[in-house]
């Protein structure tokens, strides 16, 4: 079994949302890669998408004549409206998030700590212009907040870290991390691999060091051990 593509990761997230919320769920998908999750949700999943700029029951991206400049998602991409949609203003939209009414939120990340801290808004570069958008609200804005990212950065360093070195977006807010090389639970008891894909377990443990990786909960391992 090989490492997962973006679509494979998105499919795994979609599979878990539907399996763990059989009656449907209210879900916010962060801008960028997490939006791919929508493509993998079955039509009868009962999943309703929230976009923080003020809408529930958001549909797929709009094309051609369906594009309406008044109907966009949080990434400012034209989208469509599904039956049962509702529009609301920004304070109501973030009240819905902050109040814990959404079931799942999926975000991208620069780093996630073993304890579930999230860093996804700022690289820490001294000349970077700070811009947070809804990232900090989303980080604490659902019953369960998951991350979708590559496990290693371009320099080969693990983005799952003992302690984030980038500026934080939220503290202890992440429950699970979906990556190309596996799925991980994070939190007070540290990092537990749930699934490993396309990499030998020993290799994975070594490359993620000094992070301590717990293997007690691995349900699927795609490596050759």
């Amino acid at each position: 079994m090989s490492a997962r593509t973006k679509d494979d990761i998105a499919a795994a997230i979609a599979r878990d949302i539907t399996a763990e919320h059989p009656d449907g769920a209210y879900v916010n998908l962060g801008i960028g890669q997490p939006t791919l999750v929508a493509d993998h949700l079955p039509h009868d999943s009962g999943v309703v998408l929230h976009t923080e700029n003020g809408m529930l029951a958001m549909g797929p991206a709009a094309h051609g004549d369906d594009i309406d400049p008044d109907l966009i998602n949080a990434g400012k991409i034209p989208v469509t409206e599904l039956p049962g949609a509702a529009y609301f203003h920004q304070a109501d939209s973030f009240a819905m998030m902050r109040g814990g009414h959404l079931d799942v939120c999926v975000l991208g990340a620069f780093q996630v700590s073993a304890g579930g801290d999230l860093a996804n808004w700022h690289t820490g570069a001294p000349d970077a212009i700070p811009a947070v958008g809804g990232a900090m609200d989303l980080a604490i804005g659902a019953k369960r907040v998951w991350v979708m990212m590559t496990l290693f950065d371009k320099q080969g360093a693990s983005k799952l870290v003992p302690t984030c070195t980038y500026p934080l977006t939220g503290v202890g807010c992440i429950e699970r991390v979906y990556t190309d090389l596996g799925t991980f639970a994070v939190g007070p008891s540290g990092v537990h691999a749930l699934e490993i894909n396309g990499i030998d377990i020993d290799d994975l443990v070594e490359r993620m060091a000094p992070l301590e990786l717990h293997l007690d909960r691995v349900v699927r391992a795609g490596g050759d051990r």
């Binding site: 049962g84 509702a86 902050r98 959404l102």
Partner: protein, 230 residues
């Protein structure tokens, strides 16, 4: 997570909507006077039998029905409201004077805002209402930008009972005139939200611009008649 239409298998839909209410629950009850009062849901809560309840509602019951009938069962330990005493609030009056019910009086606007804060994930807020009055007693006082405020905390419910006009199958709600009152804020403030409605329509029927309570807040819906559920 989608709303359940309670059609009353093994009882009425109202009974189904309040099933499982635990002793000691905090129950938010909508309505201002009779407008928006979920009478049939309150009646079902009486049949359901949960006790040691805290009730949050604008008033403390009128006459001998609805909220007053619930109070008369003796199953309400505490009531949080803005205006308990009315011409026909004899059930409450008697319980209160004989020390059989606790009362927290909250100014109506603070009551609404504390419910909103619960639904919006706000930890507490500073309100200018009631500063310098007997209802300020025990509250933290703070001056901000030359004005004095009191610190007010959210009011969370275990269950909300509200009445709306129309629901779709996803639980989106619209209300009717001043019967809207506490419904929308209470719907955000409780873990389980049960709504009685005049009718249920197919998803896609309500105008998305006009939905007042989005379905994300609604758990159980009871249509007024079986036909209304069709």
């Amino acid at each position: 997570m989608t709303a359940r239409i309670c059609t009353g298998t093994g009882g009425t839909g109202y009974d189904e909507a309040v099933a499982g209410t635990a002793d000691g629950s905090t129950v938010l009850v909508g309505g201002f006077g009779m407008a928006g009062m979920p009478v049939e849901l309150v009646d079902a809560l009486i049949r359901q039998g949960a006790g040691d309840l805290t009730i949050v509602s604008n008033n403390a019951g009128n006459g001998d029905t609805g909220l007053a009938a619930l109070l008369a069962t003796g199953r309400v330990r505490r009531i949080v409201c803005s205006f308990p005493r009315q011409a026909d609030s004899w059930v409450f009056d008697d319980l209160y004077r004989s020390g059989r019910i606790e009362l927290e009086v909250v100014p109506q606007g603070n009551l609404a805002e504390r419910l909103r804060a619960a639904g919006a994930g706000i930890g507490a807020f500073y309100s200018p209402t009631a500063v310098g009055t007997p209802l300020a007693e025990g509250k933290e006082v703070r001056e901000i930008d030359g004005r004095t405020y009191l610190l007010e905390y959210p009011i969370h419910g275990d269950l909300a009972l509200i009445k709306a006009h129309t629901a779709d199958r996803m639980g989106n709600l619209v209300y009717r005139k001043t019967a809207r009152n506490f419904g929308p804020v209470m719907a955000t403030a409780a873990r389980t939200v049960a709504v009685q409605v005049d009718r249920v329509v197919d998803t896609g029927t309500l105008d998305p611009e006009s939905v007042v309570t989005p379905g994300v807040y609604v758990d159980r819906i009871v249509p007024a008649t079986q036909e209304a559920a069709a």
